[in-house]
Symmetry: C2
Subunit: 471 residues, 2 copies
């Protein structure tokens, strides 16, 4: 029961893919020690501290180091070891570590290991940005690897899959299946199913590892074959793969070209797709899609500044709305103080609804749910929230400013804006879904613009109409 | 290769857990047809339309129906069928379907099926709210099922796990392992690993299904045993289970009491934990944690209204800030129009940073990354964004209002507020993490309050100081 490197794994050099898990706190402590050692020039002691950890932990500690220390650390680890770490991490985090290490260094490292090892590792990291893959690949061009899965569209099943074919013939028996499984040494440990094909590689069904384990050697393949719930092709979007994994509980997806098996998306890549999808969605609602928190600063500017600029345009819409009521504001300047109250509450209320609907759409929770039912529901909630918040805000304003008219105007505006906030927060993502767009992109900007503008029109409009009560 | 019900599965009544996957569009179309049929009293035709679908699709279509139609549909499906659908859905969605159907109806349905079937199904749905579990359970009290995993704290591994023990003795051989696997008919199809234990049920290692499939019948257990990367106990938080699943690529987690195996968290429950964690996090950033979009309206009010009320308090902080500068506003009323510009940009900028940091913390991406490096990075980004947005907003204001002083004041305020927004957007979640709190909860409210208040102080403060230039 000792940990021994698997015989068939050419990558198990100096690392232990079955090292014990550690907590985030322990990882942080070791990372601090490692950083301290490197800063005093003791890279080798730092590596001694890390090398018995799980590759997943080695990877995230290396990724978290400042650039200079990281480069020093990478030079201390042998190319084989670094490749092995990447190979045994989960694909999503390996992609991040590869990005942090940088395409140049990665290309340098991969050039020094066995070509097969480099390729296997690259195939294991579908989440590595395509520019990094291209930087690493040319050195392998002479080996004819360029025109393959590694250069496919990064958002498709074609990029997630490996080209190994876990396929067995329908007319064999369990012992033949086991022979085939033995030969699949690169992906064997990650398989939950094998695929049954005919002589033309047309897929007929699948065999689960459990059924295979229970089968006798002479059990015919047909007897343990079961139907396949879902297949994808190379162009199937990663998000659809994530949905199939979640909704149908599929641990593995066969990739077909027509009816022929050409690859398989493994468990780890599928989980990566689910997590990546969730991350992107959260970020899109906040208008920061696709950024990482520790990438190059120029990337961050490229992602965020366009949205900030668009938002500047929309806040000027709000400004123009306020400007329409300049004469009212000149008469009752205290109204200006309540502008952020109206806008802030509407924005929060709208974003609450928006976030819920975007998430529910992403999880497929709104199948068959009629849009008007959701709109009515959110409008109802807006009415109830508006009643409470409107009354509360009116009371506070009356007590603070001793102005009954002001309280009434503010309360009414708040009531109206909460209804609009709920309705628009639901309407925008539902509309985007209807026209086939991603409901998360740009929704938040539109919703807060509408709640700002409507809030100001209501508040300053009612104030203008009842100016005699509040002036 | 026909789809046949498994002999050992008492739940495979009228449904086909290996029916083909359909797209979301197809599911929506069928759902519309089903709703139409039920509304004209043709429940049985509606069921005919659905019954050949995958249980995951049956479940989500039923969940999406309006209440009356849903109740009608549930009555048409036999209790066994409905139980089977829930049993074969993914646990997270099954929890949602169960919640939608309601504790009363669920309890009624579960009372009519075989006790073992009811229990197995309930154990398969750890994401069913505890009140629903309690409503369903009493009818089984006489069978002694009450004091078990079903009533454990919903946010722990104890609730996620099943109590079946996929354990084998260390001194046996592969044929004994296979015998044990055969006997585990309730969870067998979901297993990726079996656990090796000694005579006291102390866990020594694990056997992967792949290694078992490849082993000869007389292969000693020790020869195919490998170390276990991570174990949990009944009190381990669900979020930590999700982290272990993601970070270490573990498809299954053994639950230990001391060193003894007492249960296992299966693949589907682990994926559910990951997705649930991501959902809650997105929702917490938007202050709507734990809500579902189609649950009872009273639940929605309970989740959202407290946050809206807290936010009202914070917007009054912003209002009080503006009120401090009433005399300045009275002199240059056009300043009021630009309040939403300053506040809006700061809020978006701060939320962008916040969302990135919260997500990076959740994915364990900040291990070993020093907080001050992140703060400096975001402050730098704030300076760069501020330079661009400040210049832009100044130019627009000058062109619009023909007031050079106003443009200068607005530009400076924008520049300052973007720096604050970036810094505070990073500081708040990093501080919450430091003191051991969830960085997602309440962060957004704090960040937007700070950007509002600071933005107004900068804008109106600079305007007051340079009033002669703009009045």
């Amino acid at each position: 029961m000792e940990t021994e490197p698997r015989e068939n794994d050419p990558l198990a050099y100096d690392i232990d893919p079955q090292a014990r898990a550690i907590s985030l706190e322990e990882a942080s402590e070791i990372a601090d020690e490692v950083r301290g050692l490197i800063e005093t020039g003791q890279e080798h002691s730092a590596w001694e501290l890390m090398r018995r950890l799980h590759p997943a932990d080695i990877g995230s500690i290396v990724a978290g180091l400042p650039r200079n220390s990281r480069d020093a650390m990478v030079r201390v680890m042998s190319p084989e070891t670094l490749t092995g770490v990447l190979r045994h991490m989960n694909p999503l985090e390996a992609g991040r570590v590869g990005t942090r290490i940088g395409a140049n260094m990665l290309s340098f490292v991969f050039a020094q290991v066995h070509p097969q090892q480099a390729l296997t590792t690259l195939r294991h990291i579908p989440f590595l940005p395509i520019y990094a893959v291209r930087a690493v690949l040319p050195r392998r061009a002479e080996e004819g690897y360029e025109e393959n899965v590694l250069t496919r569209d990064p958002d498709t099943a074609g990029r997630l899959m490996v080209e190994d074919l876990p396929a067995v013939r329908f007319d064999g028996d369990a012992s033949a299946v086991k022979e085939r499984l033995k030969a699949l040494d690169q992906i064997r440990d990650d398989l939950t199913h094998l695929y049954v094909v005919d002589e033309h590689h047309v897929v007929l069904g699948q065999i689960s590892m459990v059924d295979l384990a229970l089968a006798d050697l002479d059990t015919p393949v047909a007897e343990i074959t079961e139907p396949i719930v879902a297949t994808v092709d190379v162009d199937t979007p990663v998000d659809e793969c994530a949905r199939l994994r979640r909704h149908y509980n599929l641990t593995q997806l066969p990739v077909l070209d027509g009816e022929k098996l050409i690859g398989v998306v493994l468990t780890d890549a599928l989980l990566g797709a689910v997590v990546e999808h969730d991350t992107r969605q959260m970020q899109q609602v906040a208008s920061v899609a696709g950024e990482t928190v520790d990438g190059p600063i120029s990337d961050s500017i490229r992602t965020r500044l366009p949205w900030l600029t668009v938002n500047l345009g929309t806040t000027f819409l709000a400004a123009a709305t306020v400007a329409l009521f300049e004469s009212t504001l000149a008469q009752v300047v205290v109204l200006a103080a309540f502008l952020p109250v109206v806008a802030g509450q509407g924005g929060i209320g709208g974003t609450q609804t928006l976030t819920l609907i975007v998430r529910a759409i992403a999880l497929g929770e709104l199948v068959g749910v009629e849009a008007h039912r959701l709109l009515i529901r959110e409008a109802m909630l807006g009415i109830l929230h508006g009643l409470w918040l409107g009354a509360l805000v009116a009371v506070i304003a009356v007590i603070w400013k001793q102005n009954f008219g002001l309280g009434m105007v503010l309360g009414l505006a708040m009531f109206g804006n909460m209804i609009i906030a709920g309705t628009i927060g639901a309407a925008v993502p539902l509309f985007l879904r209807r026209i086939g767009q991603d409901p998360a992109v740009a929704s938040a900007v539109v919703v807060t613009t509408v709640t700002d503008v409507v809030g100001f029109v209501l508040f300053l409009g009612i104030a203008t109409a009842s100016i005699s009560l509040i002036a």
